[in-house]
Symmetry: C2
Amino acid sequence: MDDFVFQNTTKIIFGRGTEAKVGEEARQFGTRALLHYGGGSVKRSGLFDRVAASLKAAGVSFVELGGVAPNPRLSLVHEGIALCRREKVGIVIAIGGGSAIDSAKAIALGVPYQGEVWDFFAGTAEPKEALPVATVLTIPAAGSESSTASVITNEDGMLKRGFNSPIIYPRFSILNPELAFTLPKQQVANGVADIMSHLFERYFTNSRPVELTDRLIEATLRTVIDAAPRVLARADDYDAWAELMWSGTIAHNNLLNTGRVGDWGSHDLEHELSAAYDIAHGAGLAVVFPAWMKYVHKHDVARFAQVASRVWGVDSAFMDPERAALTGIERLEGFWQYLGLKVRLSGLGIGPERIPEMADKLSSKGTKTVGNFVKVGKAEAEAIYQLAL
Amino acid sequence: MDDFVFQNTTKIIFGRGTEAKVGEEARQFGTRALLHYGGGSVKRSGLFDRVAASLKAAGVSFVELGGVAPNPRLSLVHEGIALCRREKVGIVIAIGGGSAIDSAKAIALGVPYQGEVWDFFAGTAEPKEALPVATVLTIPAAGSESSTASVITNEDGMLKRGFNSPIIYPRFSILNPELAFTLPKQQVANGVADIMSHLFERYFTNSRPVELTDRLIEATLRTVIDAAPRVLARADDYDAWAELMWSGTIAHNNLLNTGRVGDWGSHDLEHELSAAYDIAHGAGLAVVFPAWMKYVHKHDVARFAQVASRVWGVDSAFMDPERAALTGIERLEGFWQYLGLKVRLSGLGIGPERIPEMADKLSSKGTKTVGNFVKVGKAEAEAIYQLAL
């Protein structure tokens, strides 16, 4: 087990109707909020009005900024920063999924900073402070409701970059599984791929031994595998949504990577894909991750055999680890297809044309390679994208 | 899944030599500390001197108070409160296991309170504030290094009572598995029983469905079962100690009871036992828990069959759940005996004489019964103690 420091300060308020508590919680951080959200669904569903009523009752006034798109853009972040400064906002509250939350975190970073907020994402500056962020989660997927991460796309060059710091842990996050009942099925499936990918990124590590966290990750994977088909079969299955929503948070709240270094190469490979084609992050991961697994599995057959055995019940792992490893990857592909996900680029209507361009952008990052379990440079990235065709 | 609020703010600093960081961490909370510990082992091992050097280097002066005994006493807490007030201490740092930490938490509660600190344990007052607490953990067992709990024994009537509040979450806890290398084998085994009992207390619940947390608890149990025999076989097995130490924290940091109500009756049954006979908490739990399980298993045979199957590999659970449930309890007894624990009162030299007295004290608490999974009153308590003979 690697040495580590772990502290996750986000307060989770979980259960039916918990959006009614946003006012009393927000009041502890300020009397003026920015409500930040995506399309109009939070208005149509009545959620926005319930949040607004709770804030008003607690004496918190607010301004609002909608329009966050999947792969949230830097330009809207700039707009939010200006709005917060003008309106003297004390807390940024995201209502939505990972995109709204990531955008809110970027706004919170930018408000007290005199320079260009993209500096933090480009890695050329380190923030000293940020406005408090809070969330009302509507999509179990990104895990951003209790994470140190924000991922933003700079339209200038369509650069998609992530930033990590404890200063953007949300102060509190409202998790009401009922809010997910109205999600489109495709978005649900994308979210499941995102959650499972967060678990796999942590699972594939060269740190050892990492027995407790291996088992905790496997436990969370098995829960997601059990719950996901149930929410797709019956959209108002509260119990299954509750398991899925809490799993989505646990998958990304940094507990499951204590004492180990995750890989994260597939996330970088996917970021190039979604930046190039503007596809949803989860949809891209469902294509990239199996290809990455096939490409790297020989690096640690035992680890792939372990997850095949413990998560997918592949019982050939003792006598034939290589076959078990590959069978495990096939089970994953089969499960994701069963959920309605495409597991090949061709299924997303994407051909080989821009593979060199994506591999080039990936390897032009500061580090030249991505991933920790296996280092992926330009040649490896091209091979993985080819395997995904 | 029940509605819940979860927030655990303790900063965990985990790894080799991490006691060297106590100074820089403590400095954030004050410039004068109380170092609180048990017997002389922390002095003999050199740990006390390393902690003292780290504090000095960071500009934190300190006073010290040793002498914490297992089942920590109220009289020493009083002494600590007076010392902290006199010396204007800003942070209480426990060096040791659960007893030192629980005692430190009680001192921290008492310093800013004008009344008698026992009020909080007796449930007749609610604290508004507490001094910051920090820990340097030497014994993986109680989980107090990242918990809201403190258990203190009032010598006046030998009343052992627990208190819970987020205000006593340690601000930071130093977890260096090397510090456990010198523990006596019996203390290690007691600690394992304590950790596993914290997991079982959470596992046996009437809340449902609780699938994610079931699986996370099972994952932690399997890790402990794998690691415990290894640290007993080789005292300086860092890897196994790391798994056990981090499992001990996870077992009790409140994550694994999110969305569920644990039982905790066995803890109350054990508190009467250790108050009456002054035996170690873990040693008492190893006797009480199997008896409790046998007494209550018919309340939810499926749950007992599930843990037998998933944790102990009992494969008869599908066709004969009752037999699987009982087999699982036997496996637990066998495992604890293998670690050198006694699983009957007779093994501890305890006969039936004081059973009525213990049952009487148990049921004289405010609630009349203890436990949530199954309510245990005086008659049930007597029956469970009898089963433990």
